[in-house]
Structure formats: structure tokens, C-alpha cells
Amino acid sequence: MTAGVLDLPIPRESLSRRFSDALFRRQGLLLTLLLVPPLLWLGIVYVGSLIALLLQSFFSIDEFSGTIVREFTLKTYAELLQPANLDVILRTVVMAAAVTLASAILAFPVAYYAARYAYGRMKAAFYLAIMMPLWSSYLVKVYAWKLLLAKEGAVAWAADRIGAMPMIDGLLSAPLIGGPSLSVSYIGQFLVFIYLWLPFMILPIQAALERVPGSLVEASADLGASPNQTFCTVVLPLAMPGVAAGSIFTFSLTLGDYILPQIIGPSTLLLGQAVYVLQGTAGNIPLAAAFAVVPIMVMAVYLLAAKRLGAFDAF
């Protein structure tokens, strides 16, 4: 088995070495062994349940008995398009878009600093600061924010101390997005969504920016571009794949979340809550399924648009 000519001791012939030999000669076998378990998982558990969900959305519910009628119909989708339900969808998509946009704007400078200027300890500190919120429980964070944003909470207290209370009151008196306090308004909901998903935006942007060689920025300046022009024509286009990846996270996570809007924000439902309520207390599985199809469609449209706009061209 040994083709070497060196006068070194030959490793003991073991079962694992023979196994390695077999895999070395048959690369296809290795690939099969590595891919079958995840493919089974993805194929059956994930895609399978998605198809089941899709099928459910084409069933309907008997209005008198409340049982599911297992016959193909578009009745459920017609129900989905009723104004009250469209409201839920619209509200959620607007919230997700706003959260995504704000996250991208907030994340970019942070990611840019980390990718271009942070080295050694600063970089470690950066990763720690970004990742640490992800280590603690989601529920703990959301409840903590509820307390912080409450009428008598820390935010209001601090604002009162520095005399910024009129500003918060002004914000809260705004139509639609306002409310009696931050914790029961869309503004509060928006803030906490950003807090939760920001790391998912920062990390992909940072990864994309790290792959932009510093010499490209210098070359741009060398060719006469001001920092502003360099940012718009070189840095941003090359970071777009990262922004797109990050926005997939922030957008889809906001579209599907059903816990945060229960705890923070007004009593009106977001999409995730609608699914939760419909499949639980209301027992309307077909409509819940139809609602669950919406984020999939929205994401598909979003990704197609991003591709059209050239967000992935840098690859």
C-alpha cells in the first residue's frame, strides 16, 4: 500500500486507513456519503413540509362545521385578499422593508470600520460586540426591551432627565406609527426589530467588504474619484452582495416573526402572528397556510428584483 521510498517507519495498516484508501480511489462515493444525510433532511423534512403547506393552502374550511375540506379550491386565497388580511400583509411588508433599510444604513459604517480599520484586539472586540446579543435568549431580550420602552421605563426616564421627552412625545403623537408609549407603538416595534436583526446585516456586509482589496479604493482615488464618488462607484457596488444577503435575513426574519409583535407594539397583527392565531385558536389551517405562502412569494419577488438591479454582479 505504500509507494514511498523513504526509510521511515510505515504507519500501521488500520481499518480507517483502508477506508481512506477506498474513498481516495472513489471520490464519488465520498461525495455521496457526505451529501445523502443533508439532502434527505432538506428533501423530506424541509421541502416536503413546504409542499404540504402549499397543498394545505389550496384546501378550504367549512364555515359551519369548521372542518377542513380536502378539495382543491382557490377560495382560501380569495379570503386572503380581503381588505383586513391585505392590511396585515401590507403592514408587515412595510415594517420589514423599513427595518431592512434602517439596518442596512446602521450596519454599513460599522461593517466598513470592522473590515477596513479594525485589526487584532479591536477586531476581536468587534466580533464579540456583534455576536454577544445573539448568545442570550430572544425572549429575554424582547422582554428587556419592553421594560426599557415602557411608559415608566428607562428610556422615558433618561429622556426626561435630558429634556428630550417632548421629542419622544412628538414621535408618539404621530399618526399610525405613534401610540400611548414606545412599547405599544410601531416605533418601538421597529426599534426592537432593528436591535434583534442588526448582527445579521452587519456580518454579511463586513464579509463582502473584507473581500474588496484596499488597492481598489486607492485606484479609484488615483483615477480622480473623491471619497464620495469612490464609495458610490466602487465600494457600494462591491458590497451589494453582502447587503443583499443581510437584507434577506432582516427582511425574512421580520416577515415571519410572531413573538416580538405580541410583546411590543400595538394590538394589530403582523403576518407571523396571523399565521400563529389562525392555526392555533382559530383552527383555520388553510388560511394560515395561505398566509405562510406570502413571505415566500415576497422573498422570491425581492430576490428577483435584487438580481435584476445587479446586486449579485460582483460575484
Binding site: 482615488a221 480622480g224 457596488p237
Partner: protein, 364 residues
Amino acid sequence: MTSGAPLMSVHTRPQDTVAAQSLAPAHGCAVRFQDVARHFGAVRAVDGLDFDIRAGEFFSMLGPSGSGKTTCLRLIAGFEQPDAGTISIFGEPVAGVPPYRRAVNTVFQDYALFPHLNVLDNVTYGLRIRGMGRAERERLGREALALVKLVGFEARRPQQLSGGQRQRVALARALVNRPKVLLLDEPLGALDLKLREEMQVELKALQRSLGLTFIFVTHDQGEALSMSDRVAVFNAGRIVQVGTPEEIYERPQARFVAEFVGGSNVLGPDVAARFGGPSRLVSLRPEAIAVRPAGYTVEPGRLHADGTCIEVQYQGAMRRVIVDCEGVRLCALVPASDVRDLRPGEPSRLFWSPYAMHAMEDER
């Protein structure tokens, strides 16, 4: 972008073709360094630099890695600011002038082509930034591509090009802006030997026909000597010698220059005297030494030394012979036919003309 800045004037001057640049070069000084220093922490990247680069010349900065030549280039481009001293470009001090306001363009070592733009958009990037219309800039871009022999590659992405082609795109992208000074940072480093030699010829021809000032950074002494009008040899952040290739090669002023440019034998004053030369620090070029078998009768007027052959290196038509002469190792570069039968360990006699021993500045 304020186009009224004086340094930008060359870019906004209406001109029809890239070749129109071949106006006679403005006489005088393109770049002047006056006592310039740049430190990174405790590291003196460059220190006490004081030299002129003439307008229209091909000026090379030669030195080993870490000798400060690239820092020097970056100081001219504006990517670095000096900690002391003054740099002037065409008579104007450029302290505090950012790179995008300097009338110089750079060909980067890694080419730094924009991966999200095709070849033509890469080349016309500088013109687009200056607000030139699409038709006009694409015409100039195509001309620049023709200049570097890349017609037909306009729509390719940089990733689809070979190293040599990328290098040409980088060159066209810089030249299309008609810089007063073109900075080249080891642009041929990543190319294979044949391509490198071709590009050397083309670069030199281009520089001659455009009449531009080229500042060329390299660690390859052959490259520097074959292309340059003048060469500055860098070591440890300082310039050791500035001169024409002939001066640098034939009359080195310091041990570093003699050794780095062509691997000369450097003999201390006592050794030089023992071999019959002046009692000075002396450079003796390998190709000035002839190798013969021991006992060979040397013609009168020649100097000689006897020693033991240590190594005969194959170098194609030539052989590099290393001989130990009583503890002094001499390297000779001789025709293969001279040493056909020479084997390591055999005695041999070296001889050379006394004029081949070039006295240098003594070391402190």
C-alpha cells in the same frame, strides 16, 4: 470635484487623442523630493530623500523589498503623506493634496482592476469620474486599448483576462487620463519571463512615444537597467546612488550598489591591495574575471589570483564559477567553453584587467 484646481488642468485640457500627449515634454523637474521622510511607528520607511525626477524621463526606483521604494511611489501618488520634507510635482508642493487632485496615475502591483466593471468601463473610469460624455470617453477608451493592443476585449470582465492582459488594461486605464507622471509599482512582477521581456520593450516604446514621465518601481536590476534613463538604488529607506544605468552598473559608489546590481565582487582595501589593486574598497565585476587552469601564464599587465574552484553553476551559454582564493571568495561569469573541464575542488587561476577594479567610497 472642483475642476478648477490647478493640478487638474492637464486632465481638463481638450485633446483629441491619447497620442496627442506626445507633445515635447515640458523641460524641468517633474517630481522633486526635498529631505522627505515617512515613518511608520519606529520604522523609517523612507528617510532623508532628496532627489529630482526630470520631466519626460524613465526613472526607476530599484531596491530589495522593504527598502522604501514603494513608499516613495505612494508618497508621490498621495496615498501617504510625508512626516517631514516637501514633495513637489511640476514645481507645486503637494502637501495635503489628496490623490484625486494629483495629475499622476498609478499602475498598481496587483493591477487593482474593478471586478464589477468590464474592460472598457475600467479603462474609462477616470473619464467618467470627470464627467465626460459616454461617446467621447468610449472613443478615448478604445484608443487607449488599441495603444496596449487589447482591441476586442472591451466587454470582458477582468476575471476573464490573463495576467498580461490585466496588466495592459491597468496601463490603459492610467494612460487614458493623460497623466503628467505615470507611476508603475512593480507592474511586471506577476508576469512570466517571456511576457515580462515583451512588456519591458512595449513600456519603453510607449514611454518614448508619449513623452511621459515614468516612475518605475522594481526589485529586478535587469529590468531597471534595461529600461531606465536613470536609476535610483534604494536601501533601508535611503537612496544609495542615483545615476544612468551605465553609472550604476559600471561605477557603483557603494558596496550595496555593487552587490545588489549584478552581484559584483566587493573587496576590502587590504584584499584589493593584496590582489594588486588600489588600497580602497573595490568592486570587481564577475564578467571581468577570466578563469584558467592553475599555472596558466597570464599576459603582462594583468592581475591574477590562484585558488580552488568551489562551484561551477550552469547558466546556459555562461558558467558562474566560484573560486576560493586564500579565504576570499570570488565569483566569475565566463563562457562555458573556458571551463569545460573544470570540476569543483580543482585549482585554478583567475585574472583580470587592473581597470576592472573600480574603487568605491570607503565604508564608514
